[in-house]
Protein backbone atom coordinates (compact mmCIF):
# COMPACT_ATOMS: atom_id res chain seq x y z
CA UNK A 1 0.00 0.00 0.00
CA UNK A 2 1.23 3.46 -0.87
CA UNK A 3 0.58 6.65 1.00
CA UNK A 4 -2.21 8.60 -0.64
CA UNK A 5 -2.38 11.53 1.74
CA UNK A 6 0.68 12.95 3.40
CA UNK A 7 0.38 15.83 5.84
CA UNK A 8 3.67 17.30 6.90
CA UNK A 9 3.76 19.60 9.91
CA UNK A 10 0.42 21.12 9.06
CA UNK A 11 -0.75 24.06 11.16
CA UNK A 12 -3.68 26.35 10.83
CA UNK A 13 -3.72 29.54 12.85
CA UNK A 14 -7.02 31.34 12.43
CA UNK A 15 -5.49 34.19 14.36
CA UNK A 16 -2.46 34.44 16.60
CA UNK A 17 -4.59 33.16 19.47
CA UNK A 18 -7.02 30.83 17.70
CA UNK A 19 -5.09 27.81 16.62
CA UNK A 20 -7.25 25.35 14.73
CA UNK A 21 -4.62 22.72 13.96
CA UNK A 22 -1.19 22.63 15.53
CA UNK A 23 1.68 20.97 13.72
CA UNK A 24 0.05 17.74 12.64
CA UNK A 25 1.77 15.13 10.53
CA UNK A 26 -0.25 12.23 9.25
CA UNK A 27 0.00 9.67 6.53
CA UNK A 28 -2.99 7.85 5.14
CA UNK A 29 -2.51 4.70 3.10
CA UNK A 30 -4.36 4.05 -0.12
CA UNK A 31 -7.67 2.34 0.59
CA UNK A 32 -7.58 2.91 4.32
CA UNK A 33 -10.52 3.99 6.43
CA UNK A 34 -9.16 6.59 8.82
CA UNK A 35 -11.21 8.38 11.43
CA UNK A 36 -10.38 11.69 13.08
CA UNK A 37 -11.91 11.52 16.53
CA UNK A 38 -12.06 14.18 19.20
CA UNK A 39 -14.28 16.48 21.19
CA UNK A 40 -15.87 19.58 19.73
CA UNK A 41 -13.40 22.28 18.74
CA UNK A 42 -10.33 20.06 18.67
CA UNK A 43 -9.63 20.84 15.02
CA UNK A 44 -10.97 17.76 13.25
CA UNK A 45 -12.99 19.69 10.70
CA UNK A 46 -10.20 22.14 10.12
CA UNK A 47 -7.79 19.35 9.33
CA UNK A 48 -10.27 17.66 7.00
CA UNK A 49 -11.07 20.92 5.26
CA UNK A 50 -7.41 21.54 4.62
CA UNK A 51 -7.17 18.17 2.90
CA UNK A 52 -10.20 19.11 0.84
CA UNK A 53 -8.75 22.50 -0.02
CA UNK A 54 -11.35 24.62 1.76
CA UNK A 55 -8.77 26.09 4.10
CA UNK A 56 -5.14 26.73 3.39
CA UNK A 57 -2.64 25.78 6.07
CA UNK A 58 -0.51 28.48 7.60
CA UNK A 59 2.35 26.00 7.72
CA UNK A 60 3.25 22.69 6.25
CA UNK A 61 2.68 20.71 3.12
CA UNK A 62 -0.17 18.55 1.92
CA UNK A 63 0.53 15.86 -0.65
CA UNK A 64 -2.12 13.84 -2.41
CA UNK A 65 -0.83 10.85 -4.33
CA UNK A 66 2.67 12.31 -4.17
CA UNK A 67 1.61 15.64 -5.63
CA UNK A 68 1.95 18.82 -3.57
CA UNK A 69 -1.56 20.27 -3.48
CA UNK A 70 -1.08 22.63 -0.56
CA UNK A 71 -2.20 25.60 -2.64
CA UNK A 72 -4.63 23.95 -5.02
CA UNK A 73 -8.25 24.99 -4.80
CA UNK A 74 -10.81 22.26 -4.04
CA UNK A 75 -11.90 21.88 -7.63
CA UNK A 76 -8.41 20.85 -8.65
CA UNK A 77 -8.05 18.09 -6.09
CA UNK A 78 -9.00 14.52 -6.64
CA UNK A 79 -10.75 14.26 -3.33
CA UNK A 80 -14.42 14.62 -2.60
CA UNK A 81 -16.22 15.57 0.52
CA UNK A 82 -19.45 14.54 2.18
CA UNK A 83 -20.61 17.48 4.25
CA UNK A 84 -22.09 17.24 7.70
CA UNK A 85 -25.42 18.70 6.67
CA UNK A 86 -25.05 17.06 3.26
CA UNK A 87 -24.94 20.35 1.29
CA UNK A 88 -27.24 18.98 -1.36
CA UNK A 89 -28.31 21.60 -3.89
CA UNK A 90 -31.92 22.41 -3.06
CA UNK A 91 -32.69 23.63 -6.56
CA UNK A 92 -31.70 20.39 -8.25
CA UNK A 93 -33.24 16.95 -8.28
CA UNK A 94 -31.45 14.01 -6.75
CA UNK A 95 -30.26 12.96 -10.17
CA UNK A 96 -28.98 16.42 -11.00
CA UNK A 97 -27.22 16.59 -7.67
CA UNK A 98 -25.41 13.34 -8.23
CA UNK A 99 -24.64 14.16 -11.86
CA UNK A 100 -23.44 17.67 -11.07
CA UNK A 101 -19.84 16.69 -10.49
CA UNK A 102 -19.73 14.71 -13.72
CA UNK A 103 -21.02 17.49 -15.92
CA UNK A 104 -17.88 19.47 -15.27
CA UNK A 105 -15.76 16.56 -16.37
CA UNK A 106 -17.25 16.95 -19.81
CA UNK A 107 -18.86 13.54 -19.93
CA UNK A 108 -21.68 12.88 -22.35
CA UNK A 109 -25.28 12.93 -21.20
CA UNK A 110 -25.62 9.20 -21.59
CA UNK A 111 -22.48 8.42 -19.70
CA UNK A 112 -23.52 10.73 -16.90
CA UNK A 113 -26.89 9.03 -16.70
CA UNK A 114 -25.33 5.61 -16.48
CA UNK A 115 -22.95 6.68 -13.75
CA UNK A 116 -25.64 8.44 -11.78
CA UNK A 117 -27.78 5.37 -12.11
CA UNK A 118 -25.00 3.15 -10.85
CA UNK A 119 -24.16 5.43 -7.96
CA UNK A 120 -27.78 5.67 -6.89
CA UNK A 121 -28.11 1.89 -7.18
CA UNK A 122 -25.10 1.57 -4.96
CA UNK A 123 -26.78 3.56 -2.20
CA UNK A 124 -30.12 1.95 -2.92
CA UNK A 125 -31.99 5.07 -3.91
CA UNK A 126 -32.41 4.80 -7.62
CA UNK A 127 -36.16 5.30 -7.43
CA UNK A 128 -35.63 8.77 -5.92
CA UNK A 129 -33.76 10.18 -8.89
CA UNK A 130 -36.49 12.68 -9.80
CA UNK A 131 -37.18 13.98 -6.30
CA UNK A 132 -35.73 17.04 -4.64
CA UNK A 133 -33.47 16.64 -1.61
CA UNK A 134 -36.09 18.33 0.59
CA UNK A 135 -38.46 15.48 -0.14
CA UNK A 136 -36.11 12.91 1.35
CA UNK A 137 -35.50 11.80 4.90
CA UNK A 138 -32.23 12.50 6.68
CA UNK A 139 -30.80 9.07 6.03
CA UNK A 140 -31.71 9.23 2.38
CA UNK A 141 -30.12 12.64 1.98
CA UNK A 142 -27.03 11.30 3.60
CA UNK A 143 -26.82 8.53 1.07
CA UNK A 144 -27.39 10.91 -1.82
CA UNK A 145 -24.51 13.02 -0.55
CA UNK A 146 -22.39 9.88 -0.52
CA UNK A 147 -23.46 8.95 -4.02
CA UNK A 148 -22.68 12.44 -5.27
CA UNK A 149 -19.15 12.23 -3.93
CA UNK A 150 -18.48 8.66 -4.98
CA UNK A 151 -19.75 9.04 -8.51
CA UNK A 152 -16.69 11.16 -9.28
CA UNK A 153 -14.45 8.26 -8.36
CA UNK A 154 -12.16 10.37 -6.22
CA UNK A 155 -8.96 8.99 -4.78
CA UNK A 156 -10.04 10.06 -1.33
CA UNK A 157 -13.42 10.58 0.20
CA UNK A 158 -13.60 13.04 3.06
CA UNK A 159 -16.53 12.79 5.45
CA UNK A 160 -17.28 15.44 8.08
CA UNK A 161 -19.49 13.89 10.73
CA UNK A 162 -21.54 12.23 8.02
CA UNK A 163 -23.90 10.51 10.41
CA UNK A 164 -24.32 13.02 13.18
CA UNK A 165 -27.68 14.26 11.98
CA UNK A 166 -29.24 10.81 12.01
CA UNK A 167 -31.01 9.12 14.88
CA UNK A 168 -29.32 6.38 16.84
CA UNK A 169 -30.88 3.43 15.08
CA UNK A 170 -30.37 4.80 11.61
CA UNK A 171 -26.87 5.84 12.48
CA UNK A 172 -25.98 2.33 13.51
CA UNK A 173 -27.38 0.96 10.29
CA UNK A 174 -25.56 3.52 8.18
CA UNK A 175 -22.30 2.76 9.96
CA UNK A 176 -22.44 -0.79 8.73
CA UNK A 177 -23.58 0.27 5.27
CA UNK A 178 -20.80 2.79 4.92
CA UNK A 179 -18.25 0.26 5.98
CA UNK A 180 -19.51 -2.11 3.31
CA UNK A 181 -19.46 0.68 0.78
CA UNK A 182 -15.87 1.39 1.65
CA UNK A 183 -14.99 -2.20 1.03
CA UNK A 184 -16.88 -2.23 -2.24
CA UNK A 185 -15.49 0.92 -3.83
CA UNK A 186 -11.98 0.63 -2.42
CA UNK A 187 -11.61 4.41 -2.08
CA UNK A 188 -9.67 5.88 0.83
CA UNK A 189 -12.06 7.25 3.46
CA UNK A 190 -11.11 9.95 5.93
CA UNK A 191 -13.94 10.56 8.35
CA UNK A 192 -14.45 13.06 11.16
CA UNK A 193 -16.56 12.13 14.13
CA UNK A 194 -16.90 12.85 17.79
CA UNK A 195 -18.67 9.57 18.42
CA UNK A 196 -16.30 7.02 19.88
CA UNK A 197 -18.34 3.96 18.99
CA UNK A 198 -18.67 5.17 15.45
CA UNK A 199 -14.93 5.58 15.17
CA UNK A 200 -14.23 2.20 16.66
CA UNK A 201 -16.81 0.36 14.60
CA UNK A 202 -16.01 1.84 11.24
CA UNK A 203 -12.35 2.53 10.87
CA UNK A 204 -9.11 0.77 10.17
CA UNK A 205 -7.28 3.45 12.02
CA UNK A 206 -8.41 6.06 14.52
CA UNK A 207 -6.63 9.37 15.02
CA UNK A 208 -7.57 10.90 18.35
CA UNK A 209 -7.12 14.65 18.42
CA UNK A 210 -6.75 16.99 21.34
CA UNK A 211 -6.56 20.76 21.02
CA UNK A 212 -5.31 20.78 17.46
CA UNK A 213 -2.77 18.02 17.94
CA UNK A 214 -2.81 14.27 17.50
CA UNK A 215 -3.10 12.64 20.91
CA UNK A 216 -2.79 9.07 19.69
CA UNK A 217 -3.37 7.06 16.58
CA UNK A 218 -3.71 3.38 15.91
CA UNK A 219 -6.06 0.51 15.28
CA UNK A 220 -9.30 0.79 17.25
CA UNK A 221 -8.49 -2.12 19.47
CA UNK A 222 -5.03 -0.78 20.21
CA UNK A 223 -6.41 2.55 21.29
CA UNK A 224 -9.05 0.97 23.43
CA UNK A 225 -6.75 -1.45 25.12
CA UNK A 226 -3.68 0.74 25.37
CA UNK A 227 -4.70 4.38 25.64
CA UNK A 228 -1.59 6.53 25.69
CA UNK A 229 -3.04 9.12 28.03
CA UNK A 230 -5.92 9.60 30.45
CA UNK A 231 -7.41 11.90 27.82
CA UNK A 232 -7.59 9.07 25.32
CA UNK A 233 -8.65 6.56 27.93
CA UNK A 234 -11.50 8.76 28.99
CA UNK A 235 -12.49 9.84 25.53
CA UNK A 236 -12.68 6.35 24.11
CA UNK A 237 -15.03 4.35 26.26
CA UNK A 238 -15.60 4.65 29.97
CA UNK A 239 -12.72 4.37 32.39
CA UNK A 240 -12.56 4.00 36.15
CA UNK A 241 -9.87 6.35 37.40
CA UNK A 242 -8.35 5.57 40.78
CA UNK A 243 -5.73 7.94 42.19
CA UNK A 244 -2.83 6.23 43.90
CA UNK A 245 0.85 6.02 44.66
CA UNK A 246 3.51 3.65 43.32
CA UNK A 247 4.72 1.32 46.05
CA UNK A 248 7.30 -0.49 43.99
CA UNK A 249 8.03 -1.23 40.41
CA UNK A 250 10.00 -4.24 39.30
CA UNK A 251 10.45 -4.79 35.63
CA UNK A 252 7.14 -4.40 33.90
CA UNK A 253 5.11 -5.01 37.00
CA UNK A 254 4.15 -2.13 39.27
CA UNK A 255 2.38 -2.15 42.63
CA UNK A 256 0.03 0.76 43.19
CA UNK A 257 -1.61 1.75 46.42
CA UNK A 258 -5.02 3.20 45.88
CA UNK A 259 -7.62 4.53 48.33
CA UNK A 260 -9.54 1.32 48.51
CA UNK A 261 -6.73 -1.20 48.30
CA UNK A 262 -3.84 -2.28 46.14
CA UNK A 263 -3.46 -2.98 42.47
CA UNK A 264 -0.69 -4.50 40.45
CA UNK A 265 -0.34 -3.48 36.86
CA UNK A 266 1.73 -4.32 33.81
CA UNK A 267 3.42 -1.11 32.64
CA UNK A 268 5.42 -0.26 29.53
CA UNK A 269 7.99 1.95 31.23
CA UNK A 270 9.25 1.66 34.81
CA UNK A 271 7.70 4.00 37.39
CA UNK A 272 9.43 5.74 40.25
CA UNK A 273 8.39 4.34 43.60
CA UNK A 274 6.46 6.86 45.64
CA UNK A 275 5.28 8.91 42.68
CA UNK A 276 1.67 9.94 42.37
CA UNK A 277 -0.15 8.09 39.63
CA UNK A 278 -3.65 7.30 38.49
CA UNK A 279 -4.70 3.79 37.78
CA UNK A 280 -7.42 3.17 35.23
CA UNK A 281 -9.49 0.25 34.10
CA UNK A 282 -12.44 -0.36 31.84
CA UNK A 283 -15.73 -1.25 33.57
CA UNK A 284 -16.11 -4.36 31.46
CA UNK A 285 -12.67 -5.56 32.45
CA UNK A 286 -13.68 -5.48 36.09
CA UNK A 287 -15.37 -8.68 37.08
CA UNK A 288 -17.33 -9.71 40.14
CA UNK A 289 -15.64 -12.38 42.16
CA UNK A 290 -17.73 -15.31 43.29
CA UNK A 291 -17.76 -16.33 46.94
CA UNK A 292 -14.39 -17.77 47.86
CA UNK A 293 -12.84 -17.07 44.45
CA UNK A 294 -9.50 -15.28 44.55
CA UNK A 295 -7.62 -13.15 42.07
CA UNK A 296 -4.54 -11.00 41.88
CA UNK A 297 -6.15 -7.57 42.19
CA UNK A 298 -9.14 -7.61 44.50
CA UNK A 299 -11.16 -4.56 45.47
CA UNK A 300 -13.91 -4.63 48.06
CA UNK A 301 -16.97 -2.44 48.13
CA UNK A 302 -20.72 -2.14 48.20
CA UNK A 303 -23.23 -1.83 45.39
CA UNK A 304 -24.18 1.85 45.15
CA UNK A 305 -26.21 1.84 41.96
CA UNK A 306 -27.51 -0.54 39.34
CA UNK A 307 -27.97 0.71 35.83
CA UNK A 308 -29.69 -1.45 33.29
CA UNK A 309 -28.99 -0.74 29.67
CA UNK A 310 -30.43 -3.43 27.56
CA UNK A 311 -27.18 -5.04 26.58
CA UNK A 312 -26.25 -5.58 30.16
CA UNK A 313 -25.88 -4.30 33.66
CA UNK A 314 -23.59 -1.64 35.03
CA UNK A 315 -22.93 -1.72 38.75
CA UNK A 316 -21.44 1.20 40.59
CA UNK A 317 -19.45 -0.17 43.47
CA UNK A 318 -18.37 2.16 46.23
CA UNK A 319 -14.98 1.31 47.70
CA UNK A 320 -13.95 1.89 51.29
CA UNK A 321 -12.63 5.39 50.56
CA UNK A 322 -15.84 6.44 48.84
CA UNK A 323 -14.52 6.28 45.28
CA UNK A 324 -16.71 4.47 42.79
CA UNK A 325 -15.78 1.71 40.42
CA UNK A 326 -18.11 0.77 37.61
CA UNK A 327 -18.35 -2.75 36.38
CA UNK A 328 -20.22 -3.92 33.32
CA UNK A 329 -21.49 -7.36 32.58
CA UNK A 330 -23.29 -8.56 29.51
CA UNK A 331 -25.36 -11.28 31.13
CA UNK A 332 -24.87 -13.67 28.22
CA UNK A 333 -27.41 -15.88 29.85
CA UNK A 334 -29.50 -14.40 32.56
CA UNK A 335 -30.64 -17.65 34.09
CA UNK A 336 -27.11 -18.91 34.46
CA UNK A 337 -26.19 -15.92 36.62
CA UNK A 338 -26.89 -15.29 40.22
CA UNK A 339 -29.61 -12.64 40.60
CA UNK A 340 -28.69 -8.98 40.30
CA UNK A 341 -27.06 -7.94 43.60
CA UNK A 342 -29.25 -5.59 45.68
CA UNK A 343 -28.11 -2.08 46.60
CA UNK A 344 -25.72 -2.02 49.53
CA UNK A 345 -24.53 -5.58 49.17
CA UNK A 346 -20.83 -6.18 49.73
CA UNK A 347 -18.93 -7.34 46.71
CA UNK A 348 -15.45 -8.21 45.68
CA UNK A 349 -14.14 -7.08 42.32
CA UNK A 350 -11.16 -8.24 40.35
CA UNK A 351 -9.21 -6.87 37.46
CA UNK A 352 -6.24 -8.50 35.74
CA UNK A 353 -2.95 -6.59 35.99
CA UNK A 354 -2.61 -6.32 32.20
CA UNK A 355 -6.00 -4.60 32.15
CA UNK A 356 -4.85 -1.83 34.49
CA UNK A 357 -3.49 1.32 32.85
CA UNK A 358 -1.21 3.54 34.88
CA UNK A 359 -0.85 7.22 34.12
CA UNK A 360 1.58 9.48 35.85
CA UNK A 361 0.23 12.34 37.90
CA UNK A 362 -3.27 13.07 39.04
CA UNK A 363 -6.16 12.94 36.64
CA UNK A 364 -9.39 14.84 36.86
CA UNK A 365 -11.61 13.17 34.34
Amino acid sequence: MAAIIELENISKHYSPTIIGVDNVSLTVEDGEFVTLLGPSGCGKSTLLRMIGGFETPTHGTIRLADKDVTWDPPYKREVNMVFQDYALFPHMTVGENVGYGLKVKGLGRLEIETKVHDALKLVGLFDKVKLRPQQLSGGQRQRIALARAIVREPKVLLLDEPLSALDAKLREQMQIEMKHLHEKVGITFVMVTHDQTEALVMSDRVVVMEKGRIAQQGRPQELYDHPASPYVANFIGTTNFLPGRVIRCTGERAEIEIGGGRLSAIVDAPLVAGSTVTAGCRPEKVRLLAEGETAENVLEGRVAEVIYYGLGLRLAVELADGSRVYTDSLLPDRLALSPVPPLGQSLRLAVEPHNVFVFEGEVTP
Binding site: H13, T58, T70, W71
Partner: protein, 272 residues
Protein backbone atom coordinates in the same frame (compact mmCIF):
# COMPACT_ATOMS: atom_id res chain seq x y z
CA UNK B 1 4.30 32.30 9.97
CA UNK B 2 3.02 34.63 7.30
CA UNK B 3 2.12 32.72 4.19
CA UNK B 4 4.00 33.67 1.10
CA UNK B 5 1.65 34.33 -1.79
CA UNK B 6 4.27 33.49 -4.38
CA UNK B 7 4.01 29.90 -3.31
CA UNK B 8 0.41 29.99 -4.32
CA UNK B 9 -0.15 30.44 -8.04
CA UNK B 10 -3.89 29.90 -7.51
CA UNK B 11 -4.05 32.95 -5.34
CA UNK B 12 -2.89 35.34 -8.04
CA UNK B 13 -6.17 35.21 -9.92
CA UNK B 14 -7.99 35.50 -6.63
CA UNK B 15 -6.13 38.70 -5.85
CA UNK B 16 -6.94 39.90 -9.35
CA UNK B 17 -10.63 39.25 -8.77
CA UNK B 18 -10.42 40.96 -5.40
CA UNK B 19 -8.92 44.05 -6.99
CA UNK B 20 -11.64 44.11 -9.62
CA UNK B 21 -14.29 43.80 -6.93
CA UNK B 22 -12.68 46.50 -4.82
CA UNK B 23 -12.66 48.86 -7.77
CA UNK B 24 -16.26 48.12 -8.44
CA UNK B 25 -17.27 48.69 -4.83
CA UNK B 26 -15.35 51.94 -4.74
CA UNK B 27 -17.06 53.08 -7.93
CA UNK B 28 -20.45 52.19 -6.54
CA UNK B 29 -19.72 54.11 -3.37
CA UNK B 30 -18.69 57.07 -5.50
CA UNK B 31 -21.91 56.78 -7.45
CA UNK B 32 -23.87 56.76 -4.21
CA UNK B 33 -22.00 59.46 -2.37
CA UNK B 34 -20.75 61.98 -4.89
CA UNK B 35 -24.29 63.33 -5.32
CA UNK B 36 -24.62 63.68 -1.58
CA UNK B 37 -21.33 65.53 -1.37
CA UNK B 38 -22.43 67.78 -4.20
CA UNK B 39 -25.62 68.42 -2.28
CA UNK B 40 -23.69 69.32 0.83
CA UNK B 41 -21.14 71.41 -1.04
CA UNK B 42 -23.85 73.60 -2.50
CA UNK B 43 -25.28 74.33 0.90
CA UNK B 44 -22.08 76.30 1.59
CA UNK B 45 -21.93 77.91 -1.84
CA UNK B 46 -22.42 81.64 -1.85
CA UNK B 47 -24.44 81.75 -5.04
CA UNK B 48 -28.15 81.35 -5.12
CA UNK B 49 -27.82 79.25 -8.20
CA UNK B 50 -27.23 75.53 -8.08
CA UNK B 51 -25.00 75.43 -11.10
CA UNK B 52 -21.44 74.28 -11.26
CA UNK B 53 -18.83 75.47 -10.39
CA UNK B 54 -18.98 76.60 -6.80
CA UNK B 55 -18.27 80.26 -6.32
CA UNK B 56 -17.47 80.80 -2.66
CA UNK B 57 -18.11 79.76 0.90
CA UNK B 58 -20.94 81.02 3.04
CA UNK B 59 -23.11 79.98 5.96
CA UNK B 60 -25.89 82.31 4.88
CA UNK B 61 -28.18 79.52 3.84
CA UNK B 62 -28.13 78.06 7.31
CA UNK B 63 -28.91 81.46 8.75
CA UNK B 64 -31.73 81.97 6.27
CA UNK B 65 -33.06 78.53 7.02
CA UNK B 66 -33.36 79.35 10.67
CA UNK B 67 -35.60 82.28 9.88
CA UNK B 68 -37.68 80.74 7.10
CA UNK B 69 -41.02 80.29 8.85
CA UNK B 70 -42.62 78.26 6.09
CA UNK B 71 -39.71 75.89 5.90
CA UNK B 72 -39.63 75.43 9.65
CA UNK B 73 -43.37 74.87 9.67
CA UNK B 74 -42.94 72.28 6.94
CA UNK B 75 -40.28 70.51 8.97
CA UNK B 76 -42.56 70.56 12.00
CA UNK B 77 -45.40 69.16 9.91
CA UNK B 78 -43.17 66.43 8.59
CA UNK B 79 -42.22 65.44 12.10
CA UNK B 80 -45.86 65.43 13.08
CA UNK B 81 -46.88 63.34 10.09
CA UNK B 82 -43.98 60.92 10.38
CA UNK B 83 -44.54 60.42 14.08
CA UNK B 84 -48.27 59.94 13.67
CA UNK B 85 -47.90 57.60 10.72
CA UNK B 86 -45.23 55.57 12.48
CA UNK B 87 -47.31 55.12 15.60
CA UNK B 88 -50.42 54.23 13.65
CA UNK B 89 -48.70 51.87 11.31
CA UNK B 90 -47.05 50.11 14.23
CA UNK B 91 -50.38 49.84 16.02
CA UNK B 92 -51.87 48.14 12.99
CA UNK B 93 -48.81 46.42 11.56
CA UNK B 94 -47.63 44.61 14.67
CA UNK B 95 -51.01 42.96 15.32
CA UNK B 96 -51.21 42.12 11.63
CA UNK B 97 -47.81 40.45 11.76
CA UNK B 98 -48.86 38.56 14.88
CA UNK B 99 -52.06 37.45 13.21
CA UNK B 100 -50.16 36.29 10.14
CA UNK B 101 -47.72 34.45 12.31
CA UNK B 102 -50.06 32.73 14.70
CA UNK B 103 -53.67 32.75 13.73
CA UNK B 104 -54.94 30.51 11.01
CA UNK B 105 -58.01 31.89 9.36
CA UNK B 106 -59.68 31.58 6.01
CA UNK B 107 -58.48 34.08 3.47
CA UNK B 108 -55.13 34.39 5.14
CA UNK B 109 -53.24 34.47 1.86
CA UNK B 110 -55.49 37.20 0.54
CA UNK B 111 -55.01 39.10 3.77
CA UNK B 112 -51.26 38.75 3.45
CA UNK B 113 -51.24 39.85 -0.15
CA UNK B 114 -53.41 42.84 0.62
CA UNK B 115 -51.42 44.02 3.56
CA UNK B 116 -48.16 43.73 1.66
CA UNK B 117 -49.55 45.27 -1.50
CA UNK B 118 -48.81 48.94 -0.70
CA UNK B 119 -45.07 48.22 -0.55
CA UNK B 120 -45.00 47.57 -4.24
CA UNK B 121 -48.02 49.60 -5.19
CA UNK B 122 -46.95 53.01 -6.49
CA UNK B 123 -47.76 55.66 -3.93
CA UNK B 124 -49.76 57.50 -6.53
CA UNK B 125 -52.35 54.70 -6.58
CA UNK B 126 -52.61 54.64 -2.80
CA UNK B 127 -52.82 58.41 -2.78
CA UNK B 128 -55.45 58.61 -5.47
CA UNK B 129 -57.63 55.84 -4.15
CA UNK B 130 -57.66 57.39 -0.70
CA UNK B 131 -58.22 60.83 -2.18
CA UNK B 132 -61.23 59.47 -4.02
CA UNK B 133 -62.54 58.02 -0.80
CA UNK B 134 -62.06 61.15 1.25
CA UNK B 135 -63.66 63.14 -1.51
CA UNK B 136 -66.59 60.77 -1.65
CA UNK B 137 -67.26 60.82 2.07
CA UNK B 138 -66.56 64.54 2.17
CA UNK B 139 -63.68 64.31 4.60
CA UNK B 140 -61.51 67.44 4.32
CA UNK B 141 -57.86 66.91 3.51
CA UNK B 142 -55.37 67.74 6.21
CA UNK B 143 -52.19 66.45 7.77
CA UNK B 144 -54.33 63.81 9.43
CA UNK B 145 -55.44 62.38 6.11
CA UNK B 146 -51.79 62.30 5.12
CA UNK B 147 -51.05 60.35 8.28
CA UNK B 148 -53.75 57.83 7.40
CA UNK B 149 -52.36 57.57 3.90
CA UNK B 150 -48.80 57.07 5.08
CA UNK B 151 -49.85 54.56 7.70
CA UNK B 152 -51.57 52.53 4.99
CA UNK B 153 -48.70 52.81 2.55
CA UNK B 154 -46.12 51.82 5.15
CA UNK B 155 -48.10 49.01 6.74
CA UNK B 156 -46.29 46.46 4.63
CA UNK B 157 -42.90 47.66 5.81
CA UNK B 158 -43.79 47.02 9.42
CA UNK B 159 -45.54 43.76 8.74
CA UNK B 160 -42.69 42.26 6.73
CA UNK B 161 -40.04 43.22 9.24
CA UNK B 162 -41.92 42.15 12.34
CA UNK B 163 -43.22 39.02 10.67
CA UNK B 164 -39.73 38.03 9.60
CA UNK B 165 -38.54 38.40 13.16
CA UNK B 166 -41.45 36.44 14.55
CA UNK B 167 -40.65 33.65 12.15
CA UNK B 168 -37.15 33.48 13.49
CA UNK B 169 -38.38 33.38 17.06
CA UNK B 170 -38.63 29.75 18.16
CA UNK B 171 -42.23 28.84 18.81
CA UNK B 172 -41.09 27.02 21.91
CA UNK B 173 -40.23 30.30 23.65
CA UNK B 174 -43.82 31.32 23.96
CA UNK B 175 -44.86 27.80 24.79
CA UNK B 176 -42.28 27.76 27.54
CA UNK B 177 -43.83 30.90 28.97
CA UNK B 178 -47.30 29.33 28.90
CA UNK B 179 -45.80 26.30 30.46
CA UNK B 180 -44.38 28.38 33.28
CA UNK B 181 -47.84 29.72 34.00
CA UNK B 182 -47.92 32.91 32.00
CA UNK B 183 -51.21 33.80 30.34
CA UNK B 184 -51.11 34.54 26.60
CA UNK B 185 -51.07 38.29 27.23
CA UNK B 186 -48.38 38.04 29.85
CA UNK B 187 -46.21 35.84 27.72
CA UNK B 188 -46.61 38.29 24.86
CA UNK B 189 -45.45 41.17 27.03
CA UNK B 190 -42.71 39.27 28.84
CA UNK B 191 -41.36 37.09 26.08
CA UNK B 192 -42.52 37.91 22.57
CA UNK B 193 -42.35 41.66 22.79
CA UNK B 194 -38.79 41.93 24.15
CA UNK B 195 -37.63 39.55 21.47
CA UNK B 196 -39.21 41.42 18.58
CA UNK B 197 -38.41 44.80 20.06
CA UNK B 198 -35.49 45.53 17.78
CA UNK B 199 -37.56 44.59 14.74
CA UNK B 200 -40.31 46.94 15.88
CA UNK B 201 -37.85 49.73 16.53
CA UNK B 202 -36.19 49.10 13.18
CA UNK B 203 -39.48 49.02 11.31
CA UNK B 204 -40.59 52.12 13.18
CA UNK B 205 -37.44 53.96 12.25
CA UNK B 206 -37.72 52.96 8.63
CA UNK B 207 -41.38 53.96 8.55
CA UNK B 208 -40.51 57.27 10.11
CA UNK B 209 -37.87 58.00 7.51
CA UNK B 210 -40.02 56.89 4.61
CA UNK B 211 -42.98 58.90 5.85
CA UNK B 212 -40.82 61.93 6.48
CA UNK B 213 -39.71 61.79 2.88
CA UNK B 214 -42.94 60.66 1.26
CA UNK B 215 -44.25 62.57 -1.76
CA UNK B 216 -46.82 60.76 -3.92
CA UNK B 217 -49.32 59.98 -1.19
CA UNK B 218 -48.80 63.35 0.47
CA UNK B 219 -49.20 65.06 -2.87
CA UNK B 220 -52.76 63.86 -3.16
CA UNK B 221 -53.81 63.82 0.47
CA UNK B 222 -52.46 66.97 2.01
CA UNK B 223 -54.66 69.94 2.68
CA UNK B 224 -53.16 73.36 2.98
CA UNK B 225 -50.22 72.24 5.11
CA UNK B 226 -46.95 71.34 3.56
CA UNK B 227 -44.64 68.62 4.70
CA UNK B 228 -40.96 69.12 4.08
CA UNK B 229 -40.76 67.22 0.82
CA UNK B 230 -43.90 68.98 -0.38
CA UNK B 231 -42.34 72.27 0.55
CA UNK B 232 -39.21 71.38 -1.37
CA UNK B 233 -41.38 70.26 -4.25
CA UNK B 234 -43.19 73.56 -4.28
CA UNK B 235 -39.98 75.54 -4.06
CA UNK B 236 -38.74 73.62 -7.06
CA UNK B 237 -41.39 75.63 -8.84
CA UNK B 238 -39.92 78.94 -7.87
CA UNK B 239 -36.37 77.73 -8.05
CA UNK B 240 -34.51 75.82 -5.45
CA UNK B 241 -32.16 77.83 -3.32
CA UNK B 242 -29.25 76.35 -1.38
CA UNK B 243 -31.43 76.75 1.70
CA UNK B 244 -32.90 73.43 0.69
CA UNK B 245 -29.41 71.97 0.41
CA UNK B 246 -28.83 73.22 3.92
CA UNK B 247 -31.91 71.31 5.04
CA UNK B 248 -30.64 68.30 3.15
CA UNK B 249 -27.26 68.57 4.81
CA UNK B 250 -28.88 68.71 8.21
CA UNK B 251 -30.97 65.66 7.33
CA UNK B 252 -27.84 63.82 6.24
CA UNK B 253 -26.17 64.64 9.55
CA UNK B 254 -29.23 63.65 11.55
CA UNK B 255 -29.56 60.38 9.71
CA UNK B 256 -25.89 59.69 10.25
CA UNK B 257 -26.49 60.07 13.94
CA UNK B 258 -29.56 57.85 13.74
CA UNK B 259 -27.71 55.23 11.76
CA UNK B 260 -24.86 55.15 14.23
CA UNK B 261 -27.35 54.94 17.07
CA UNK B 262 -29.19 52.08 15.43
CA UNK B 263 -26.00 50.19 14.66
CA UNK B 264 -24.79 50.64 18.20
CA UNK B 265 -28.11 49.65 19.70
CA UNK B 266 -28.44 46.51 17.60
CA UNK B 267 -24.90 45.61 18.46
CA UNK B 268 -25.84 45.97 22.11
CA UNK B 269 -28.71 43.55 21.81
CA UNK B 270 -26.43 41.10 20.06
CA UNK B 271 -24.04 41.22 22.95
CA UNK B 272 -26.80 40.48 25.37
Amino acid sequence: MAQSPNRAPGLVSRYGADTAFMTFVAALMAFLYIPIWVLIAFSFNDSRSLTWPLSGFTLDWYVKLASNGDLLAAIRNSFYVATGATILTLCVGVPAALALHKVNFPGKTVFRRLILLPITLPGIVTGISMLNMFKLIGFPLSLETVILGHATALLGVVVTQVYARLQRLPKSLEEAAFDLGASPWRSFVDITLPNIRTAIVGAGMLSFVLSFDEIPVTFFLTGRDNTLPMYIYSTLRRGVTPEINAVGTIIVLLSLVLIVVSVVSTRDTKQK
